[in-house]
């Protein structure tokens, strides 16, 4: 066996070990209660399920990330949250490219079926994700995204679909609702 072949084999083994290690984490994470810092998780199970009147969402201004789970498919991920004028929103960037859409499938799934559960500070809330593309609220939410996370996005980006914006509306909201 010549040196080049041995080197090729060693690199192949190393790559295979990495793929198996990361793949095991990804697959095992699908059954876990919520996501990890890097990989997605399974259904959100633990935590009090908050029902009743709409909460005062102002506390979300100090929350960095929340756990978001769609009912279909029942997988969860960490995501930024934006509070604006008493309502809460989530956004997904990189939606203008094919790679971005391949990487982030949840926005398309949420547009199809917006029923979701979010877990914020250990409490779970039933919500409906309603996509917003236009309206007065978009400007305020994009400004808040920049202020809170340093993420530069304009209302034009939202309208063009390079960044998708969803309101975390009450659970009985129409999924094809008008801008808030």
């Amino acid at each position: 066996m010549n040196i080049a072949r041995k080197l090729f084999l060693a690199i192949g083994v190393l790559v295979l070990v990495l793929i198996v290690a990361v793949g095991t984490l990804v697959l095992s994470g699908r059954n876990s209660d919520g996501p990890s810092a890097v990989f997605g998780g399974g259904p959100l199970v633990a935590g009090e399920l908050v029902t009743g009147p709409e909460p005062d969402w102002s506390f979300a201004r100090d929350i960095g990330t929340i756990e978001l789970q769609l009912l279909d498919p029942p997988r969860s991920r960490l995501i930024w949250i934006i509070e604006h004028e008493g309502k809460v929103y989530v956004a997904s960037g990189y939606m203008g490219s094919a790679i971005g859409r391949l990487w982030k499938r949840w926005p398309v799934q949420a547009e199809r079926d917006g029923r979701a559960i979010v877990r914020i500070a250990g409490k779970r809330y039933r919500r409906t994700l309603v996509r917003i593309t236009t309206g007065a609220v978009v400007e305020g939410v994009t400004e808040e995204l920049g202020r809170k996370y340093g993420y530069t996005v304009t209302p034009a980006d939202i309208e063009e679909g390079t960044t998708w914006l969803f309101e975390l509306a009450p659970p009985d909201a129409a999924m094809t609702g008008a801008p808030g």
Partner: protein, 42 residues
């Protein structure tokens, strides 16, 4: 060569079991991936 494939199969199964059941291994890999992603973003 056939022996090599058997050894590799054993190694890969051992890696999967270690990730699943050895405390800290999964967290270590996640930390490594996270720092790699952070360096890419930075």
């Amino acid at each position: 060569m056939k022996r090599f494939y058997w050894i590799m199969g054993g190694v890969l199964i051992a890696v999967a079991l270690a990730v699943l059941y050895v405390p800290g291994v999964g967290e270590y890999i996640e930390g490594t991936v996270l720092s790699w992603l952070a360096s890419l973003a930075g």
